[in-house]
């Protein structure tokens, strides 16, 4: 009887240790791969390192879109703060001045260098935090 108990104890311990280790590794992977989401006004309250991947969401400011060949630059605003964005590539169909947008990229000299520009399928989409203020 004693031997079986000892075996069980070892098994349980092994399971606990390995799942703790596994969870630790998974959570560490998670923490180093988070994309933080900001609205433009929140962005300057934070001290962000340049190489941190971030998401910025807001409205495309009217009249701010300029294009040069395949480069496009525009301003995202939440009507309290704003930030310049630069992107090389095709913006989605729903992208237009005065409508909602989310960009994924890196901050560099107070400009977001975007890797991806997203507009939702739904044309009524707006980031919830801005939606509340209007």
């Amino acid at each position: 009887m004693k031997k079986i108990r000892k075996q069980r104890l070892i098994t349980v311990l092994l399971i606990l240790i390995s799942s703790a280790l596994g969870s630790f590794l998974v959570i560490r992977a998670l923490d180093s791969n988070l994309d933080f989401f900001f609205t433009p006004s929140e962005l300057f309250k934070e001290e962000l390192p340049d190489n941190k991947r971030i998401k910025v969401g807001g409205m495309v400011l009217d009249g701010s879109v300029t294009r040069d060949k395949t480069n496009i630059s525009f301003v995202i605003t939440d009507y309290e703060g704003s930030i310049d964005v630069e992107f090389d590539g095709i913006v989605p169909d729903l992208f237009k001045e005065g409508s909602g947008v989310v960009v994924l990229g890196y901050l560099k000299d107070k400009t977001v260098i975007a890797e991806d520009v997203l507009a939702k399928h739904d044309e009524n989409y707006m980031p919830p935090s801005i939606d509340l203020k209007n």
Binding site: L30, N33, L34, K55, R67, G89, D93, L104, K120, E123
Partner: protein, 631 residues
């Protein structure tokens, strides 16, 4: 008038399903008279509910815009095909279809099962109860039968243009078929636990049903991935979006489930684990419905967002899962098998595989829920992107594949013979090293994970080829379902690795009659035309492309503007070949008259879906063989 009849029939069916549940659990369900009664009530309530759905389809086809939902999602100009598929283009209709499939699986089960009367009535009872839960959800929170009276609009608002696609008309039905198909396994597991008699072999009964659902789920996910690839214009096949992840979790659980089912249907060794998995698979399917339908998590896909619905679903799912787990823990000791798993036997490998699947499910769940938890605690919005999932999925899949490799020769309940291992091991490692070396020199791949994936993917395929060779030459045993499915896995790993490493894209700025060059391909912008479609106007851009060997072909990406909502969509143009897709989308026109055009070389991408098709094929063949041997 018809809509009221359809509405009434659905309410009637709800009542009858509830009756079915009451009879199966509160009467003596071993009595053959009761079993027949439950079976008959079930069939009738299904037929009544089905007629309600058929009437609804008829209303959609005949443009009955007095029905609010049809007025909001259909349009007179739509082809009949899309008038029907518009039913599942939004929330209410999707739930309607979901319940149709849920009860449909039960109806086939009811017809096909004649030998296992003991569990049948209670399984039907569980299915009925689940159906009642969803029917109440449909009728109380998302009623598709609401009408606009007395003045219906003359024309409907139209289905979202990106959803006007033949593939998207069949992707949700396939996916739902897969999700809810696991209700059979779940129902049987609950009926079995309720009965508590360890002698009943419920595992054998549910194998074919579970493998069939798994095939539908795999097909549904693959179709969705393919649709996103050519319709959304991003050129990818998987985005780790929450909505995709909640479909992946039940798939992972279901894959683990059908593996351990194959073990526990032979002996009772993994029985407890299999029971738990059957509950997990169905719970994760329902959890997916909750995440998607409640809109609790921001996703690039937009779905109905309604806290009331979320709350209902969460309580319903919570109740169902809690009850099942309570029942499970109540019977736990009673069902424990006293047999030990022999080390290096097939069962031991399946247990290890289950641990890997468990880790993947746990990580995906964490990635889906972490943003919610984080925002709750720190009041900071975050999202978990592809890097996290890649960091978890790539190493775990590769390690799991090494175990898979050694499991190929293993036997049920006995340790395998190391001597039989050397010859195939030597052969497959040599052959796949040659392939990796070729890839290294030909494509100049230097990324370690890519090379490792190539090596492991090809080792698995070659190992299975050796099995096939032994089958034909020495008449050795070969399980062809397993061979096809796992070769699909090997191919999937190779394709994803190559696609990830070798694909490239570039945005070009080009005027009509100009020629641009990208990677030795000459791209000539020939022409721009405006072409009217049935319910949209389209601008088509013709590009004549000359590849490095001098072969010429034309690609015509287009932009569409739909009449009903004025929405603009991009239609991609794809030149497909075995090795790579050339994928073009057209963007905006600049002030100087030039156009922005995106060109992508998507290497090996077709093989990703092909490998999914292999898995589906293996699943369907296995279903066929299992259901034939059962009857």
């Amino acid at each position: 008038m018809l809509i009221e009849i359809a509405h009434f029939l659905s309410i009637l069916a709800t009542g009858l399903f509830f009756l079915c549940f009451i009879f199966s659990f509160f009467l003596n369900s071993k009595d053959i008279y009761i079993i027949n009664l439950v079976s008959r009530i079930y069939t009738h309530s299904f037929l009544i509910f089905l007629s309600s759905f058929l009437i609804y389809i008829w209303l959609a086809i005949t443009d009955n815009f007095s029905v609010l939902y049809i007025a909001q999602h259909s349009n007179i100009n739509l082809p009949v095909f899309y008038k029907v598929s518009s039913i599942w283009s939004a929330h209410e209709g999707s739930m309607f279809l979901w319940i149709i499939f849920l009860t449909f699986w039960g109806a086939i089960y009811n017809l096909a099962t004649s030998n296992n009367q003991l569990l049948k009535a209670r399984t039907l009872g569980v299915i009925s109860l689940t159906s009642v839960g969803f029917l109440l959800f449909l009728l109380l929170t998302s009623n598709p039968f609401e009408t606009i009276l007395p003045l219906p609009p003359e024309n409907g608002a139209d289905i979202n243009p990106v959803l006007q696609d033949p593939l998207l008309a069949i992707h949700p039905p396939m996916l739902y078929m897969g999700y809810v198909g696991f209700v059979i396994a779940f129902g049987q597991a609950i009926a079995f636990l309720f009965e508590g008699n360890p002698e009943i072999k419920w595992e054998k009964q549910v194998r074919s049903w579970s493998v069939a659902s798994w095939s539908f789920l795999t097909l549904g996910i693959a179709l969705g991935s393919w649709w996103a690839y050519y319709e959304l214009g991003w050129g990818g096949y998987w985005f780790w979006d929450p909505v995709e992840n909640v479909a992946l979790m039940p798939w992972l659980a279901a894959t683990a489930f059908i593996h351990s089912l194959s073990a526990s249907s032979k002996s009772f060794i993994l029985r407890i684990w299999t029971l738990l998995l059957s509950i997990l698979v169905f719970s994760l399917s329902l959890f997916g419905a909750f995440i998607v339908r409640s809109g609790i998590i921001d996703s690039v896909h937009s779905f109905a967002n309604d806290p009331e619905r979320g709350l209902y679903l969460l309580s319903f799912i919570g109740l169902l899962v809690m009850t099942s787990l309570l029942l499970f823990s109540y019977r736990f000791n009673h069902l424990l098998s006293n047999k030990k798993i022999v080390s290096l036997s097939k069962e031991s490998f399946i247990s290890i595989n289950n641990i890997f699947f468990g880790t993947l499910i746990f990580s995906t769940m964490l990635g889906v829920l972490y943003p919610l938890i984080y925002e709750f605690i720190y009041d900071q919005k975050i999202s978990v992107g592809a890097p996290f999932y890649n960091a978890i999925f790539v190493p775990i899949t590769l390690i799991a594949c090494i175990f898979l490799y050694f499991s190929i020769d293993s036997k049920w309940q006995q340790s395998f013979n190391f001597k039989s291992l050397y010859q195939p091991l030597f052969l497959s490692i040599t052959a796949s090293s040659v392939i990796v070396a070729l890839a290294f020199y030909k494509f100049l791949i230097v990324n370690f994970l890519t090379l490792a994936s190539l090596l492991i993917g090809s080792i698995i395929i070659i190992r299975y080829l050796i099995v096939i060779y032994f089958y034909f030459v020495y008449r050795k045993f070969a399980n062809f379902f397993s061979i096809i499915a796992h070769c699909g896995l090997g191919l999937l790993i190779i394709s994803i690795a190559l696609n990830n490493n070798l694909s490239s894209e570039r945005a070009l700025n080009i005027k009509i009659n100009e020629t641009a060059v990208y990677k030795d391909y000459q791209i000539n912008f020939k022409n721009l035309r405006v072409v009217p479609g049935p319910n949209f106007d389209s601008v088509k851009a013709d590009f004549v492309i000359t590849n490095p060997n001098g072969k010429v072909f034309t690609l015509t990406p287009e932009k569409r503007k739909y009449f009903a909502r004025g929405q603009v969509t991009t239609e991609t143009a794809i030149h497909a070949s075995a090795l790579k897709d050339i994928y073009m989308t057209v963007g905006d026109q600049l002030d100087d008259g030039s156009w922005i055009v995106n060109i992508q070389f998507n290497v090996f991408i077709r093989w990703i879906w092909f490998s999914a098709i292999m898995m589906v094929l293996a699943g369907l063949l296995l279903t066929h063989s299992l259901s034939r041997s059962r009857s």
